[in-house]
Point group: C2
Chain length 292, copies 2
Amino acid sequence: MSYSLRQIRALTMAVETGSFGRAAARLHVSQPALTLQIRTLEESLGVTLFDRSARGVRPTLAGQALALSFQRILDELETVVAGAREQAQRRSGVVHLAVLPSVAANLLPGALARLRAAHPGIRVMVRDAVARRVAALVKAGEAELGIGHAAGPEPELEETPLFEDSLVAVLPPGHTFAAAASLTLPALAAAPLVLTDPESSLRALVEQAFAAAGLSVRPAYEATYMSTAVALVRAGLGIAVLPATAVELRVAPLLETRPIDTPLLRRRIVLLRRRGASLSPAAEALAEVLAG
Amino acid sequence: MSYSLRQIRALTMAVETGSFGRAAARLHVSQPALTLQIRTLEESLGVTLFDRSARGVRPTLAGQALALSFQRILDELETVVAGAREQAQRRSGVVHLAVLPSVAANLLPGALARLRAAHPGIRVMVRDAVARRVAALVKAGEAELGIGHAAGPEPELEETPLFEDSLVAVLPPGHTFAAAASLTLPALAAAPLVLTDPESSLRALVEQAFAAAGLSVRPAYEATYMSTAVALVRAGLGIAVLPATAVELRVAPLLETRPIDTPLLRRRIVLLRRRGASLSPAAEALAEVLAG
DNA sequence: AGTAGCTCATAATTTTTCCCTATGACTGCG
DNA sequence: CGCAGTCATAGGGAAAAATTATGAGCTACT
């Protein structure tokens, strides 16, 4: 026979009110029920908690001391539970999110602003990483959600399409290519190209597209950062191939961009989550904002 | 529908073992029972605690976090309850005791030693005070037990006789009174007396006894401390009237004591406690040692 | 002094809760 | 493909706890 929360609440309330009857009323039970709860607790602990007399009850020293300790514990419990409920209602919570740097710089700020508007209590811990690492972080559970590239069917990951990021040709001011509405791969292959460094996933995508068309890539320049590539284009040194969503393009007013005639130069940006793992309410809210 | 300790234990155990079945076994319930406990808790909190799949369960982030908090709270609860049970078994606890100085110096040390032998975990907070204050401390609940004089029927206090402390005549070495087995009040009244100071309850008792016999008291010396009185007697300056139990007499080897022929020169030393208030287990143990 | 009103305790009954056994569904492995 | 392991579901039954009704002891008021 062990003690229960009900008995503990009965004790604290009885000590607080100094009366079994009042305590029972406050706890919405009948007085005999509370009397029995107290008595059962006493038997369970082997401690006399109240001195009974015909004109009421009076807590013993042990009763007072226990009520104090129990009250503190009940308060802690209440706090913990309230916190959990608050998170369930999306009124608070933390999401760890792994994001591609390009998305972090472009799509993400607006999404986070919308999330904040809808759920001000939710905090998002953003970690930017390259595509492979985004997937690894989500797999390891270090990030509850990830924004990365579609990488085909992985058993441990579930992908939700977010949007497609096409690569575009970035032309220097007044370039003759600007006359066309779109460019072909062979035309691009013949032009001096500004590409990202050979290790990047962006570069790999470009290489694949050209190879599929039977072309080889001979970059005129390689830049690690997109802003460098943009600067090179602006200086008229070549044509860059960059994601359409890159913020660097939007802040470079004189440059023109043109789509490229191939379905291969596209990246499907997806939301990643562990398969079979339910999302926290906070993550759920973030996912909704990202997808919606 | 609210949460219970049982459900909380189910959660912590399920997170700990990573399996509903193992958790159920450890908690000595069937697996369906545990499944239901978890589910009820989830509904009560509005939180998904586990991701279920056919090959087992896996706690969600919320489940892990809650299990951690709940475990801490359960530990605290366990500690508090264990402490209470320990006190109930007299393996620990504190008693506040108010004592007459004379008893504190004489009877008490032995009693405390016996208490320590029987119940090493019990601590006694001793406060020495004059008879009136001993009663007041017990009435106010500041001392759970008191050792004082029998003061007649008080509505708030309950008295248990401990022993009787007779006043005896303390004679200088070789005094002629030593020839008699006992002394009479008139004989004493005629001798030079060493008494305690007029404010003490001891002195009041002596005055009353002499007055009842139609005699008046003319002390040759008044001493505040018994050790002073003893020194005066040893110097042959008079005969003292002191409690037989006074430790000062035992450490004064050359002095003789004789009883006095009157029932009035006796103090009934009693154990005092609040009427209707049960004793803590520790106080119970102390009371047993004192009375036994 | 008698009585009304307050307190808590007790008793018997009913309601609710909870648990257990048996079984099913699903997955992963040999 | 079947076997072993996991959790979910369903139905019957036992245990726990609540309620109502009542009793008993004290206080205070008239």
